[in-house]
């Protein structure tokens, strides 16, 4: 076994152990909180599988995470810590609304909505990118600020441009039927947005691992000095990876509102963008792994939700689980000592073998 295999094995082991430990922590908390820990645990772990509708909930909440997750994968692969996928998602929904409330031919209608949402989303993430390449302003801060701008702008647009006075609460005019993404599984809200999401995952993987832009993005992310030395135009990579990342998040916002709602009714940021960051981290910034990490996150969330509705354990427990997992997945040195020992053992074994072979 080579050193490389040992490393891969420990990566997987670390992930599994992270999940295991997180669940362990959840169990301990539940034991303390719940009057009927057994039932609570059952709902948490198996709740999403009990009815079709509940499992439908899991899949529905996976859909938007596919978009934001892949978008974040692309931005973070270039080592650009842009947090504005959140704002992109929100504004993407708003701009999709702007189109969705108008009369248009079917098929073209949702396509145009999603395109519009994507463009709006790409502007949100592009501004921090430009600020960084032009003035050296770190995107971590400027992108968080952008989220506020995006949400305020979005709320303003809904309230003053697309407001439905007859609805009785803050929301836009209803979407036209032609704009909606149809539900295709009965008794759930699973809509055809999932196919767009899967398409985005596939394209995202090809883009990042098979296109020349993707190669440039990953090279910039791993070693900027090298990228400059070899002749990659670093500022343009930094800008386009974030434009694309924001575009995908914006698409996600559009797909989500068109698939799940009949009008735009968010009152503020939705957290889908930040969840995208979680999903991308667990997926190690590989779009191909995004569906799995999104599924996992959604499953735990829905499980916790069912548990909180059916028992006396609050839903917040899911945040503990999430945090513990992220903590261990990102803690490179976790199990590092053990890994080193097994590498040492392996090397010694192969050296002994060589010696034997040499007589």
């Amino acid at each position: 076994m080579s050193v490389r295999k040992i490393e891969t094995r420990f990566d997987i082991l670390r992930l599994l152990l992270a999940v295991f430990l997180a669940m362990g922590v959840a169990v301990v908390i539940i034991l303390f909180l719940s009057d009927d820990p057994q039932l609570s645990l059952k709902y948490l772990l198996l709740g999403p599988l009990t009815t079709k509708r509940r499992f439908g909930n899991v899949i529905e909440s996976v859909i938007p995470l596919l978009f934001t997750g892949v978008g974040v994968c692309i931005m973070y692969s270039a080592n650009q810590t842009n947090m504005a996928a959140e704002g992109s998602f929100f504004l993407g929904g708003v701009f999709a609304t702007a189109i969705a409330i108008r009369t248009m031919p079917p098929v073209i209608h949702p396509i145009l909505c999603i395109l519009f949402g994507g463009i709006a989303g790409s502007f949100v993430t592009m501004i921090p990118a430009l600020l960084y390449t032009r003035f050296g302003a770190r995107p971590v801060v400027s992108s968080l600020m952008m989220n506020h701008i995006a949400s305020s702008l979005g709320i303003f647009m809904i309230n003053y441009l697309f407001f439905d006075a007859s609805a009785g609460f803050t929301c836009s005019l209803p979407f036209q039927k032609t704009a909606k993404l149809p539900v295709f599984v009965s008794k759930t809200s699973i809509h055809i947005g999932i196919f767009i999401g899967v398409f985005v995952v596939i394209m995202g993987w090809f883009y990042l691992y098979r296109s020349k832009n993707g190669y440039e993005i990953r090279t910039v992310g791993k070693n900027v000095s090298f990228a400059k030395y070899i002749g990659i135009s670093v500022p343009s990579v930094i800008i386009y990876c974030q434009v694309i990342g924001g575009f995908l998040a914006g698409m996600g916002g559009a797909v989500e509102v068109l698939g799940m709602y009949n009008r735009f009714q968010y009152q503020g940021l939705t957290n889908h963008g930040f969840d995208g960051i979680l999903v991308a981290i667990i997926a190690k910034y590989n779009p191909a792994m995004v569906p799995f990490s999104a599924l996992f996150l959604s499953y735990v969330r829905v499980g916790a939700d069912i548990m909180s509705r059916m028992t006396d354990v609050p839903v917040e427990i899911v945040y503990v689980v999430q945090s513990v997992i992220i903590l261990f997945v990102t803690a490179e040195r976790f199990l590092g000592g053990l890994k080193h020992k097994s590498i040492v053992r392996e090397i010694e074994r192969s050296m002994a073998q060589e010696e034997k072979a040499n007589g």
Binding site: S2, F206, Y215, R218, T219, N223, S225, G231, H340, I343
Partner: protein
């Protein structure tokens, strides 16, 4: 017979990438001796000393100091025991004075810092060991040799009984090295033990008492220097006598591939390169000798396009590159083997293949339907790995797992396989073992014989002298000497030029 002050028994150190740096190495040092630790680059000398100084944790083995078994967890432990180390790269606060550096970090309780006392202490220590240094001078104004003195004095002030010097002469000129040897002898006479890492034979035979030879992470034993000839030692070190005589057909210079006219580069108000003019023709190797930090690095980066905003003219194959990007310059046939391999040469967390394709992934034969043509790129990488005998599992292995020499082979393979017209090779064999160095040097010579022009920047005297056709010397950002034939250059004279003691009247040899 003096007792052993230090015994390192059966030390094994394996790095996280699986590289066995030390394999069951034993080293003993006696009180009051200069013990040479010798071996090629990558033989494990520095690692062994890092283990001793508490920077690296050994995977196996024990250390016995002054007759007692000790565990050295960090440098603070090592210093407390009386072990001092002077690193290759100095660990000094350059904006502080010498005296401040000497006492920095010494326990002072909560008393106010007393500069006068620090100066006194420095003076008395300097006098005790016969080291000449001005305690009030700022470290940044000191020459490399003087900085090294500060480092040595710093270690001694902290009570070092055993002083480790990691290739101290690598950054020194021959004259400065001589001074260092005199000082080390004085320190030794006061009962200190010195462990002297080197791979220069002359130094070892001239003033070391005993030596330990490391080869590929293993110890070949300890010997008294007195009863060995240089030839025997070199035989031990590399398994054969060092033969730095490269076979080169006669250089047939062709058209100019690089022409530099009155080049000046200013950084922070300082002329890092000052009015430099020279040219490189196809079919020749122009060596630039010089102690590091005299403008060679900037020169290489200017020609490759990494630095901009210079005064003067740089023409590559007749084209002015002042407005060209790095990629445009590369497209005109310029290759660059960078000085700093880990920062510029490779992406350490990317595979060998991804490192090899970096300069051509976007070009015609490697792009199919707007996507990377993976089979083609793989076969390119496989061919180059075979051609340059890169030792690896396969091309998907991350490059950080390779040894320095194999990593550099990947860099060289990439840079030389794009049929360049001009190759900038900046310290191409630094930190590379002898075998790989030979492959790299021979590849450069082959490229030159086939018509490429090579600009070889090197601090390794043997390398510039043996590989170059012509030679120029840089000092303080200027060309201070130029030799039409590198063969005819006298090593000592070259040293004087490198040190800035001598300067040629530049009219005699047009570069």
């Amino acid at each position: 017979m003096e007792p052993n002050i230090l015994e390192m028994n059966h030390i094994t150190k394996i790095y996280p990438n699986g590289f066995v740096a030390n394999d069951n190495v034993t080293l003993t040092a006696k009180k009051g001796e200069i013990h040479a630790l010798i071996g090629e680059n990558g033989a494990g000398k520095t690692t062994l000393m890092k283990v001793l100084f508490g920077i690296e944790k050994p995977d196996k083995g024990e250390i016995i100091f002054n007759g007692e078994k000790v565990e050295i967890k960090n440098p603070a432990d090592a210093i407390a025991l009386g072990i001092g180390m002077v690193h290759q790269h100095f660990m000094l606060a350059s904006s502080l004075s010498v005296a401040e550096n000497i006492v920095l970090g010494l326990d002072n309780g909560f008393k106010r810092f007393d500069l006068k006392k620090a100066i006194e202490k420095t003076k008395s220590m300097a006098k005790k060991y016969g080291i000449e240094i001005d305690p009030e001078e700022k470290v940044q104004n000191l020459s490399v040799g003087n900085k090294q003195r500060v480092e040595i004095l710093k270690a001694l002030t902290r009570g070092a009984k055993v002083l480790i010097l990691d290739e101290p002469t690598a950054v020194l000129t021959p004259q400065e090295s001589e001074d260092l040897f005199v000082q080390l002898k004085q320190i030794k006479e006061q009962g200190h033990t010195i462990i002297f890492i080197s791979h220069k034979l002359k130094e070892i035979t001239s003033f070391c008492d005993r030596l330990t030879v490391l080869k590929m992470g293993r110890s070949l034993g300890e010997m008294d220097v007195g009863c060995m000839s240089e030839r025997e030692i070199s035989h031990l070190m590399v398994g054969r006598e060092v033969l730095l005589n490269y076979e080169k057909p006669i250089s047939i210079p062709k058209e100019k591939v690089l022409e530099i006219k009155n080049l000046t580069y200013i950084r922070n108000g300082k002329k890092v390169i000052n009015d430099v003019s020279f040219s490189v023709h196809g079919g020749e190797i122009l060596g630039i000798a010089g102690v590091e930090g005299n403008g060679q690095r900037e020169l290489a980066e200017l020609v490759s396009g990494l630095l901009k905003n210079y005064e003067g003219t740089i023409l590559v194959s007749g084209n002015d590159i002042s407005r060209d990007t790095v990629r445009m310059i590369r497209e005109t046939g310029v290759s660059h083997i960078p000085e700093d391999r880990m920062t510029y040469g490779v992406v350490k967390n990317a595979s060998i293949m991804e490192n090899i394709i970096a300069d051509r992934y976007y070009k015609k034969p490697f792009i199919k339907n707007a996507l990377l043509d993976i089979p083609k790129l793989r076969s390119l990488a496989n061919n180059l790995v075979a051609e340059y005998t890169v030792k690896c599992d396969d091309i998907d292995q991350e490059i950080r797992m390779l040894s320095g020499g194999n990593m550099q082979k990947v860099v060289v393979a990439r840079e030389l396989s794009s049929s360049p017209k001009l190759i900038i090779a900046n310290q191409p064999t630094r930190g590379v073992d002898v075998g790989a160095s030979e492959i790299i040097r021979n590849s450069l010579i082959n490229m030159r014989t086939n018509g490429a022009g090579v600009l070889l920047v090197s601090a390794d005297l043997n390398e510039v002298l043996d590989v170059s056709d012509r030679l120029i010397v840089m000092y303080g950002g200027e060309i201070v000497a130029s030799f039409p034939s590198a063969k005819a250059v006298d090593e000592h004279e070259l040293g004087e030029f490198m040190l800035g003691i001598k300067k040629q009247d530049m009219k005699e040899g047009q570069a």
